[in-house]
């Protein structure tokens, strides 16, 4: 298109545009609010706020900002409980782009987990890739350099036909984006369960670090300051991502794609990522922060420009004026509502004082990042958007950002819960002989949820930037964050949908306990919590009950452990038809090392080390991996939670690691002691001779999933010191064997060579998903 033609087209668009003036004159104009995901009473409320009908652009903005995804309208009343969890180390908490924790020595760490579930089912590669991109920009917006990502993933049954499509695309997308961005992938989960068949869960956690005094504000302050958009051009991708995709179940989508993207060439609501642009954007923004050139910064993610301008304007308690036609577009024919809600990736919004703007633009040019002044901060208290001189938006910014609808949705305990609890695992046939136990152990180790994850993790860079101390399959991802002081952090993300299906309160606390344990096992002190709450439809009272219980469980648990919830994300509508996923709160825990060289690895490697089992084992198989793998059974009660005992265990593990008493340690979770031993032996390349405690039922000892437990390998020279510490602190502890040989021997039961174990453990994912080692 020639310049002249483009200008004509733009002008004819401008002529057809729905302005504030026109809205005042045509109060009865029919507006497609329901197709955009708004309810009649919400539409009425917009009238009340504005004193007139909204323009098309305003309607688009309210529809995305008041969507479940952006407004948290169903979850807000429950999330308030997290405000009761605190720490004096918190520099920024819930409501910020990501929580920020002071870790001493002038450094702060920021981390957050988010979901990208719906897009990743529709278009696995781009959905997962842009999930990484989005969370990385949240971390960047705090002023931090993103340092690493972790990805908790859940798919349908491993052998279901669609799982291969979704998993292959998701893993390639995460790798393709994260690798190209130069972010190591240091941990996560890969879980298979039929409940996720139509609703895979793709969560992404990013962690970053910053000088504590360089924390950035997501606020547009200072009338006269300029609003600068940096990064990619805006296109028609991701239109209505937060409303159509993320805030509706898959059978009932809204009309965004039709009404917004226009015509038969229906564009998907999934964004398309370009990691190269994001890499450049990161380096560019970090240089701007380091040179103290910006007053405020906000990322563009869900709800795009609408979210960024309304949130910063609301936070700054000022006003803002945006000349929308200045936004660089991929397609000149885009109209104001599309420009405002496009979720095109790799964009950031900066607030810049006028004297600094030339320097800001010069830095952006040097990095090859497109930067455009699109507006300014005003003192009007209004967010005003013009399009070629005509006013298309004039609203109070807080009405979009903070004052969306809040619902107290009805809740009802699921009708089937009592029956589910009654149908416990007690009646399931259990392996008794040595041969049966051996067979069970191999079958479990080879099962999709417990087998080797290399097929996934080898597609991720775990080395870039040279600060990764431990990466999965280790207990937690561990990073050095300061080469001078050897300060470091550990991160783990955990969840268990089966436990939560049986009891969401307990299940959520089990996830919290496991994440804390995983961090403590490496030697880090648990410090702060983030969460991604993945649930079905909030309009289903039974789902809402699960959600309420999970929030209550997490809030109570964090209070008891003295850990703050620093932020998180809610993903509702993970349902297909009336069938919801298992309630799946994923809990992320950040831990701190004063000296990361003290970290404890997972693998047994020192022959002769004593193997100790810490904690108490009970006969607990409700929701267990054993019940699921061998009997396809889900029922009964999940393992009990004792957070005081978890805290004690964590203290012992941290002390043992810090004082050099422990060569290796591994938490016990899915698959129990047996799986922990398999993993520790294979990881370190050394075998183990195990003597189960006298009088214990070998099956229970090996496969129970009682919480609050870990195995440690302790050098002979440190054994007395370590066991005395356990005794002094009152932590139950049992000597169960030694690191030795090249097989896993359980006395009086069975022996199995590491070679045989490794073969069983390694083969599963390549067999299911192809492309094994070359």
């Amino acid at each position: 298109m020639s310049d002249a033609a483009q200008s004509d087209a733009a002008q004819s668009d401008a002529a057809a545009v729905d302005t504030v003036e026109l809205a005042g004159k045509t109060p009865d104009e029919h507006q497609p609010y329901e197709e955009l995901g708004l309810r009649p009473d919400e539409y009425e409320r917009i009238h009340t706020v504005l004193g007139r009908r909204p323009t098309a652009a305003e309607l688009a903005m309210y529809s995305v900002m008041w969507s479940e995804h952006c407004s948290y309208k169903s979850s807000k009343v429950h999330l308030r409980q997290f405000a009761g969890t605190r720490t004096d180390r918190l520099l920024a908490g819930i409501g910020a782009n990501a929580g920020v924790v002071d870790v001493g020595a002038g450094l702060a760490v920021t981390f957050k987990v988010e979901s990208h579930n719906h897009p990743s089912f529709v278009e696995p590669y781009q959905g997962a890739a842009t999930g990484v991109g989005g969370i990385v920009r949240d971390i960047l917006a705090m002023g931090a350099r993103p340092l690493a990502v972790l990805d908790p993933l859940r798919f349908g049954a491993a052998d279901a036909p669609d799982t291969r499509r979704v998993l292959s695309g998701v893993v390639a997308g995460i790798g393709g984006y994260g690798n190209c961005l130069g972010l190591p992938n240091i941990g996560g989960e890969v879980v298979f369960d039929p409940s996720y068949a139509g609703n895979p869960l793709v969560n992404a956690l990013c962690v970053g670090a910053l000088p504590a005094d360089r924390l950035q504000q997501a606020a547009a302050t200072g009338p006269g300051n300029l609003v600068v958009l940096v990064g990619a051009k805006t296109g028609r991708d991701g239109i209505g991502g937060v409303s159509v995709l993320a805030s509706a179940t898959f059978d009932t989508g809204g009309g965004w794609a039709g009404s917004m993207a226009g015509g038969p060439a229906k564009r998907p609501s999934v964004q398309v990522g370009d990691p190269f642009t994001e890499k450049v954007l990161i380096e560019c923004c970090l240089e701007l922060f380091a040179r103290d050139l910006v007053v405020g910064v906000q990322d563009l993610g869900g709800a795009g420009l609408t979210c960024a301008i309304s949130e910063t304007a609301a936070a700054g308690r000022a006003g803002m004026r945006v000349s929308l036609e200045r936004v660089p577009l991929r397609e000149a024919s885009m109209e104001p509502p599309q420009v405002l809600v496009s979720e095109s990736q790799e964009r950031m919004l900066l607030i810049v004082a006028p004297p600094a703007v030339d320097e800001v633009l010069a830095v952006c040019r040097r990095w090859g990042a497109l930067a455009t002044v699109i507006g300014d901060v005003t003192d009007s208290g209004r967010l005003v958007v013009t399009w070629h001189g005509e006013t298309v938006v004039d609203v109070p910014p807080a009405s979009l950002a903070d004052e969306g609808p809040v619902y107290e949705r009805p809740i009802r305990r699921p009708a089937d819960l009592d029956a589910l609890a009654a149908a416990g695992p007690g009646s399931l046939p259990r392996p008794a002989t040595g041969i049966e136990l051996r067979e069970t152990l191999v079958r479990m180790a080879a099962s999709p949820n417990l087998c080797d994850r290399s097929w996934v993790t080898e597609q991720y860079d775990r080395y870039v930037r040279g600060d990764v101390v431990l990466a999965w399959p280790e207990n937690a991802g561990v990073l050095r964050i300061d080469e001078g002081t050897e300060r470091g952090v550990a991160l783990s993300v955990d969840g268990n949908g089966r436990y939560c299906r049986l009891d969401p309160y307990t299940g959520t606390q089990l996830a919290l306990a496991e994440a804390c344990r995983n961090v403590a096992v490496t030697g880090a002190v648990p410090l702060a919590v983030t969460n991604c709450l993945n649930f079905g439809s909030p309009e289903d009272p039974e789902v809402m009950w699960q959600f309420a219980e999970a929030c209550r469980g997490l809030a109570d648990g964090c209070r008891e452990l003295g850990l703050p919830v620093t932020g998180g994300n809610v993903s509702f509508y993970n349902s297909t038809g009336a069938v919801a996923i298992h309630p799946t709160p994923v809990v992320g825990v950040l831990g701190l090392f004063d000296d990361v060289t003290r970290r404890t690895p997972l693998g047994f490697s020192e022959e002769g080390d004593t193997i100790l089992l810490l904690g108490v084992t009970r006969d607990e198989f409700g929701g267990s991996e054993w019940a699921w793998v061998t009997h396809g059974h889900l029922g009964g009660r999940p393992p009990q939670v004792d957070l005081r005992a978890e805290r004690l265990l964590a203290e012992v593990l941290v002390a043992g690691s810090r004082d050099g008493m422990v060569d290796a340690a591994h938490d016990l979770s899915d698959g129990g002691l047996a799986q922990a031993l398999v993993e520790a032996c294979l990881r370190g390349g050394a075998g183990a001779r195990i003597v189960l405690p006298a009088g214990a039922d070998p099956f229970v000892a090996l496969f129970s999933e009682s919480a609050g437990r870990a195995v440690v390998a302790v050098p002979r020279s440190e054994e007395l010191r370590f066991t005395e510490m356990c005794d002094a602190r009152g932590l139950p502890m049992t000597r169960i064997g030694v690191v030795d040989g090249d097989s896993l021997d359980v006395q009086d039961a069975f022996s199995i060579s590491l070679a045989e174990l490794e073969q069983a453990w390694n083969a599963t994912l390549p067999r299911l998903f192809g492309g094994g080692p070359v």
Partner: protein, 223 residues
């Protein structure tokens, strides 16, 4: 005065910080070189680090080859300046025709991040003189396009002139011809390899410290 080793940063370079660290650990001074500059700042050697320069747009290394700094690197290499290309840097050197052959999509079609054993096939290069002939070293690979290919005649020439510098010793991660992990030019001062020696310089974060000798070699080779 310690040797000064330049590390080029292209837009999309990722392992430049690691290369800087490796140079420091070897006792030399890392010097940051910018892709848009026509200046090598008088350095004693140059490293082209790993990453996705220019987003791997068109083809890995294809655009970086035309950057201003590469004109200087090519000229200097022809005058004998030691140059090391790691991963994406190796791809750039092949695109710039400082090294023969090309790097194509891995045979398994996936990105592979894995610790690999390499055999040092020749110590007669500017970057491997610190190793023992035939020494096996443990170094990570991480790439999606690391399958080394070349015409039969080129391969024969490389083998005959002992210009295969590193070979995968215990399993080939990408289907490279002749298990080739790295090669050098006829002057033996320009070396490219897909594995990442700069990720094997610190026992805390790497699988070994076998990579350090590479960065030490160039100090004795030149200074």
């Amino acid at each position: 005065m310690s040797a000064r080793i330049g590390v080029v940063t292209f837009p999309g370079s990722l392992d430049d910080v690691d290369a800087h660290r490796a140079v420091r650990i070897a006792g030399a001074e890392p010097v940051a070189l910018w892709h848009g500059d026509h200046d090598l700042r008088g350095v004693d050697a140059v490293i082209l680090p790993g990453g996705f320069s220019y987003g791997d747009h068109l083809r890995a290394g294809a655009i970086a080859r035309f950057s201003p700094v590469m004109r200087e690197v090519v000229d200097a290499a022809r005058r004998g300046l030691p140059v090391l290309g790691i991963c994406n840097g190796f791809q750039v050197l092949c695109e710039a025709h400082l090294l023969p052959g090309a790097l194509t999509r891995n045979a398994g079609l996936h990105f592979v991040c894995r610790d690999m054993w390499l055999r040092v096939e020749t110590v007669r290069t500017a970057w491997t003189s610190g190793y023992e002939p035939g020494q096996e070293i443990l170094v990570p690979v991480k790439h999606g396009e690391g399958r080394y290919v070349a015409a039969a005649g080129t391969l024969a020439e490389l083998e005959a002139e002992e210009r295969v510098v590193f070979r995968y010793a215990r399993g080939n991660p990408n289907g490279s011809f002749h298990d080739i992990a790295g090669v050098c030019d006829a002057s033996r001062r320009v070396v490219g390899l897909m594995p990442h020696p700069e990720h094997a310089v610190d026992g805390l974060t790497g699988p070994s410290v076998d990579g350090v000798a590479l960065f030490l070699s160039v100090l004795t080779a030149h200074v």
